[in-house]
Symmetry: C2
Subunit: 472 residues, 2 copies
């Protein structure tokens, strides 16, 4: 049984035992109860609470020991103080359990030698018995596609997303963006919390997501990696199939020390990670804002095939701001062909020569804003030097200002040029209203700043280049 098969058990066990299940519920205690969570999220497999001091937990029969449970058990979750961990693992092995999640803390993550010893022993017992371990110091697994959730609270999910996450913290348990696009609601895909990396590591998780049909995009929250060589080999292969984003913690030396104390081992030089990520096509995000932006970009936009972008809007101020943003992200302001510039010039007054970034205002004065902007957006997207577009709109409240309709322009552009990513940003009093309208259109995304547009497009281009360069 290889590790990918073990991971299929972790994400979709037919039966699971919860060793150390609590009798308290989230309603009557400051604590939470994962058995309650599992039932609330509608998981259809069999759930067996194990607690020698209870006969019933959350309406389910409770057992003294996992050995008393009738029939086989695919997965066990151990939530016990560290002193009782090894005994519980031994019983899991006797029961032929192949997938073990260890919640217990105070092991490699603690400050004494005893904890490190217990962790090593528990892992040894499990591996020798044919089982694999997620954790310790983890909350385990979430799978929104079958309702499995070993975390300490419900998913509260309203929509499934095709994202497979691997993390070392509960921060990334539920969803991955701070502000979901309005109307998207709460979303979860699959999550695997590796905790102390006692056994199963990032490379294993990548191999599971590599062939998982529910996963189109992979996100790694990483404090450290154990077997770097294997990880980067696997990552390079998987990255050719699915985009991989990473939030690698420990950029500062101080953070690297802190991380060591959180999950138990030193991380390694940050610059080494940086270069290695890039070489194997992993895209590094700087914070959770960028994680949200890039997730949306990879799920909803086509690739940026060249490094030249167009910027258009009816405001001169976007020229400097937009140029700063795209240059900082490593993209170029597309020069536009002579032919395009000549055609554009016919729409402008004689005293101005249009160029990219393009302020459409002077053309609007002559030809009307709706018509001239539509023509200029079209000319820009048709230009061979332009691989993607930032379209800037003035966000007057859509229901209060009907004079012209930038949404219509954006929608038509997205329909005419489905192979070029089009991003929108707007200034004005009602960005929320416009975001909601614009994001209903396939191929269009809204971002809160021009800088975030630029970084999202740069990530699309980074992946595109990786795929070209590694194409055999």
């Amino acid at each position: 049984m290889d590790v990918a098969q073990h991971l299929k058990l972790f994400f979709d066990p037919g039966s699971l035992a919860f060793i150390g299940a609590s009798r308290k519920t989230a309603k009557d205690d400051g604590d939470t109860n994962p058995v309650e969570t599992m039932l609330a999220d509608g998981y259809k497999g069999k759930v067996y609470p194990v607690n020698p001091n209870a006969s019933e937990i959350m309406g389910l029969k409770s057992y003294r020991s996992i050995l008393d449970v009738p029939g086989g058990i695919d997965m066990a979750v151990i939530s016990l103080p560290r002193e009782r961990l090894c005994q519980a693992v031994t019983e899991c092995i006797q029961k032929r359990v192949k997938a073990i999640i260890i919640y217990s803390m105070g092991l490699d993550d603690g400050d004494d030698a005893e904890g490190k010893h217990i962790q090593a022993e528990a892992i040894r017992l499990a591996r020798e018995g044919g089982a694999r371990v997620v954790g310790p110091n983890t909350f385990g697994v979430i799978n929104a596609f079958n309702g499995l959730n070993t975390y300490w609270a419900p998913m509260y999910t309203e929509k499934k997303i095709p994202m497979g996450a691997v993390c070392q913290s509960g921060i990334f348990s539920y969803r991955s963006w701070p502000d979901p696009p309005r109307g998207w609601g709460r979303m979860v895909g699959k999550v695997l919390d590796l905790g102390n990396l006692g056994d199963i590591d990032y490379a294993d998780a990548l191999e599971y997501y590599e062939t998982d049909p529910d996963t189109k995009l992979i996100f790694l929250h990483m404090e450290r990696v154990r077997n770097g060589r294997r990880f980067f080999e696997v990552a390079r292969r998987v990255a050719r199939k699915k985009p991989i984003l990473v939030l690698k913690v420990g950029r500062s030396e101080e953070a690297a020390r802190v991380v060591a104390s959180h999950t138990g081992a030193l991380g390694g030089k940050d610059e080494v990670y940086d270069g290695a990520f890039r070489q194997c096509g992993i895209i590094r995000v700087r914070d959770v804002d960028e994680l949200a932006d890039l997730t949306r970009a990879f799920l909803f936009l086509p690739p940026l095939k060249g490094n030249g972008v167009g910027i258009i809007g009816h405001v001169g101020g976007i020229r400097g701001m937009g140029t700063d943003a795209f240059k900082a992200a490593g993209l170029n302001i597309a020069p536009l062909s002579r032919d395009t510039l000549e055609r554009m010039g016919k729409l402008f007054p004689s005293w101005i020569r249009p160029f990219n970034p393009l302020d459409t205002w002077p053309a609007g004065i002559i030809h009307g804003y709706q018509q001239s902007t539509e023509q200029l957006v079209d000319l820009m997207l048709a230009d061979p030097t332009v691989s993607g577009l930032l379209f800037v709109v003035w966000t007057v409240p859509p229901d209060e200002f009907k004079a012209w309709d930038a949404t219509d322009i954006a929608r038509r552009a997205a329909a005419r040029f489905p192979d070029k990513p089009i991003c929108t940003w707007g200034y004005g009093p009602d960005s929320a209203g416009w975001q909601a309208i614009l994001e209903k259109t396939p191929g269009l995304l809204w971002f809160p700043t021009p800088e975030r547009v630029a970084r999202a497009l740069a990530a699309l281009h980074q992946r595109w280049r990786f795929l070209q360069e590694t194409d055999e």
Copy 2:
């Protein structure tokens, strides 16, 4: 009459003439009409449309020439093609107008010599006649406090904010943040669009805001500055009285070239600006997200008096992420005193030694999450090495999860330590719900990422240091 007196006229004229007023309204045309805007926003002064082809505009009597208007006129707005600009300025001077806003484009911002010549001549005529000019290539002035709005659309404002903005683009006309804190609605304070900087410059605007009682915070969107020496002298003086934020465009050389074509002159080396801003206490923002964050921080948080911060939450993952964020922003993770660490230690299991950043989880298991987190937040804020706090919460939907109440902890902390800025960030499914609840508390702000918390606190500290170092 000094320039500050002129600017008082610009922001609060008793009467104004609109030369080149259009008969079209925003409702029947792709264009907008500033006369309509002024009336819609409830400006109480006298408004005189000037258009030789109309007898009435928006229900107001229209005049053939400004010279036909009865009585005096404080301010004129000129919206005419450049060929007719100088004649209009001459008539304004004959009418003894002291404040002139020039909308006209194709001057220093155009590509021919003729435009530059016309601009120079118009400014000369105005100055010799005792008037001062805002623009050309501007939309002029917004003053939410008296309803004055010479822009091309209504303010749509719901609330006034004590922010004085100076800009060179309509992007910053209406409000300064992409996503206002929920419940704040649409906000405007005062805005002065300097356009081509033909006459009135940033230093003049700063001197106006320096003594303006409506203004507590100043924001500059700057593509270039004309008289650098005077600007930085004035800025250093004004920055001691009110925080000044700047979004300086032209970081990349390419953007600097682009900016030159937008408003007519070269900008200068970016690093020179960077150092000069810092020396005179101006705080530079990187994008509109940061502008929003710092605006809120300066309006609603106390100063960060030391460079040590505390980080606390019931999740280990914040340790690495938070440390990276604060180190990148130039702040330190406060070491905590021996006494504080000893008191904290009593709440933790024996296998863990607490430190900052603090994961409260192991203490919560023993003592309950509510009580232990409250005590630990209190201990941290009381520590002399901690000048501000990042409090991390898990954003379960407030109405679905009652087990423990982080809002109560945050509120009590803000009340007990009003001199230390407390910022919150949360991970989980309902950040919006928590932001709305937490931001009702004075002294507390919510941010979308730990990195944005760190940069906001770093800006507070930068200003605090500037005030200390320049204190005479």
